[in-house]
Every structure is written in C-alpha cells, then in structure tokens.
Amino acid sequence: MSFLIVARQIKNILRSQPEAKYHTIINKYKLRNIPYNLLIKYASQGYNQKVCWKCGIERKNFSDIFCSQCNVIQMPSERDNYFKLFDIDEQFDIDSKILKDKYKNLQNNLHPDRFINRTEEEKKISENYSSLVNKAYKCLATPLKRAEHLLKLSGSSIEEKQSSVDPGFLMEMMELNEELDNNVEPEQLRQLNIKNKNELERLAQSIDECFKHQNLDEAKQFVIKMQYYTSLGNRINAKLRELGVVD
C-alpha cells in the first residue's frame, strides 16, 4: 500500500473521529511495515489539535507544549507562522532578547535529550518540534529572513523569476562588488564592512516603516535591496576571513 494512501486514511480517521487517539492509529499502521517517521509525519498533518493525542482530553490552551492532564508532549500548534510559534507580535521590529528568551525556554522543554526515556512517539514529536523551533528562530533572528517571512505570510513573497530592480541600483551593486575586488587591505575591508552594515541598518529601518504602514510593495523593494547588500556583506566577511581577520 502506498504511503500516500495510508496518509489519506489516517487523516480521514482523525478528521471524522476527533476522539480517535493518535497513538492507537499509529500502532495500527505500524504493523504494516511503514517507516515510523513517515507515519508520524503523515498522521500529524491530519492531527486534531483540540485533543491530546495520547489521552484524548480536550486541550484548553493550544500553545501549551504539554497536555494539562497526562503531561505528555503535544505537537506544535503552529508550523507556518513563526511569530505565532514563539507567541510574539507579528511585526518586523521585534525585541531580540525576548525572542532569545522564548527560544531558550522552548528548547529547554523540547530538546530530544529530555525524552530519552519516553515512548517513540514522544521522542519523534520532540525531534520534529525542536527542529521546527530551531528553524523558526534562525529565521526570526535574521532581519532579512524575518522580513521575507513577513512578506510570505502576507502572500507577497519574492519570486525567483521576478524581473530586475532598477538598473541604477544594479549598477551601484556591481560597482560596490568591484570595489571590494580591488580592495585587499584589511583596513579598507573593515571600512567597507562598516559602510555595508550601516546601509543594512538603514534598510532595516525603512523596511520597518513600510511594514508599519502596511506598504508591502515598497517593503518588498527594500527587502530585495537588503538581499543584495547581505550578499555583498557575506563576500566582505569571506574576504576578511581569508586574510585571517576576525571581528
């Protein structure tokens, strides 16, 4: 039987019978030699958030990591919106300290090391949950990725095929990159790096303004520029590393 068919069946069972317990379904299909991780993955897609997968009790707060009744780890209530995953406001200007605290707090509870003596299901859930939190943190902690995530959430992500930005800007980026190629002295590179960081800072402020005023199209243009300056920054840093200069 194909995995997809199984996945569909599991989803249907979970949808039509919310009271069905997640682990009894898993156990039923485990007998059919289906790889465990696939089973968990498919089953969790159709999984009913409203009840605990283990004991079936109705959950009061979906963002709680553990079931209030049996204290077993729950699946993430949110997968796509990283802001909701961390329970922070959906905006560009975020407090990086709060984000970091939330991240540490989540990982303290979720880390797979804490589930060594638990069941296979719990281990798997903690693994998936924990890696999702890592991914989300990396995204939100970087201004460029955070801005792209915000754009994606509002349905206007940057397409690969998107036609070019204005030629003047491209020319400027070309010249900046060429300037970098001609500069080999660590001191000059440091200067370029500072200049670049200031530019990124300015762009971040513009992006924040745009998001605050719901001006998505303009935000997108700034995010694209930020992408170019980030690439330039990566090249500067790579060159500095080559020269053995560490900040």
Partner: protein, 155 residues
C-alpha cells in the same frame, strides 16, 4: 548504459572513494570547472558603439551579473566578457554563455535558451534560475547593442 561523468554509478563510486568530497559533489564537474577557471572574465568598454552591455540581478538571492559582447561589422560576435558576483552556478552559467556566444551572429545569439545552459552544466532544479539569469543577461546585452546601432543609423 553510457559511462559518462554524470552517470549515477560513477557519482556514487566517487562518494565512496572520497567521502570528504561529497559536499562539492553536489555541483557537476562542469560547473566546478567553469567556477574555478572562469572563461572571459573582465569588462569591455561600455561606451564603444560596437559593445552591448547587459546588467541583470536575481532579487531572490542578491546575485549580480554583467555580460558584454563585441560585434564586428558583419554582425558577428567577436568577443564576450562577463563579471558575476554570485553563486558557483551563476558564475558557471555566465562563463559558459560567453564561451557559447563567441563566433555567433547577433540573431543566433538571441536563440540561446536557459534550458540549454542548464542542460550543458547539469544544473539541479534549485539552480535553474541561475541559467535564466544568464539568458536574461545575454538578451539584455544584445538589445543594448541593437539600441546603440539604431541610434547610430538615425543620427
């Protein structure tokens, strides 16, 4: 089955022999060759009326690519140069394009498709946009050349 360098058997053998090379193995040898020995890097005089310049960028990854061609009186491309700041696939795509375009006429050069570049370099699907960038660049260079020529005729 033909045993060319891209065959899966050879690839997996390479992985076994050089387990530490697996990372670089995700790029096809042709890409690595163009990346390590790029052909025709440099610039042509963009104010020369026989030179066409194409400058394009990839907004999703921040790559910039400049491609220039020089055309002789008979409409044949006699020289091509590029400068690309971006990933290995973007560099290889533009390097390959300059090589391919040399000796072709302007009309022939317009027919270059990104699929051809991608096929030649065995680019994986996630890197197809790099070959599109090279196609856009050569088209931009050709159109720049044509605009210059038209101006020349009217003046």
């Amino acid at each position: 089955m033909a045993l060319n360098p891209s065959s899966n058997i050879l690839k997996s053998l390479c992985g076994f022999c050089h387990p530490f090379k697996i990372l670089s193995a995700s790029y096809h040898p042709k890409v690595i060759d163009h990346y390590e020995n790029p052909r025709n890097v440099g610039s042509l005089d963009k104010d020369d009326k026989r030179v066409g310049t194409g400058l394009v960028g990839a907004p999703a990854c921040g790559d910039v690519m400049k491609l220039q061609i020089k055309v002789d009186e008979s409409g044949k491309i006699v020289d091509a140069k590029f400068k690309t700041f971006g990933c290995g696939s973007a560099i290889a795509s533009s390097s390959y394009t300059t090589e391919w375009v040399k000796g072709k006429t302007v009309d022939e050069a317009l027919k270059l498709r990104n699929t051809e570049i991608a096929k030649e370099l065995s680019l994986p699907p996630v890197k197809l946009h790099c070959s599109m960038l090279a196609e856009d660049a050569i088209k931009a260079a050709l159109s720049d050349y044509r605009i210059k020529q038209k101006k020349e005729e009217t003046s």
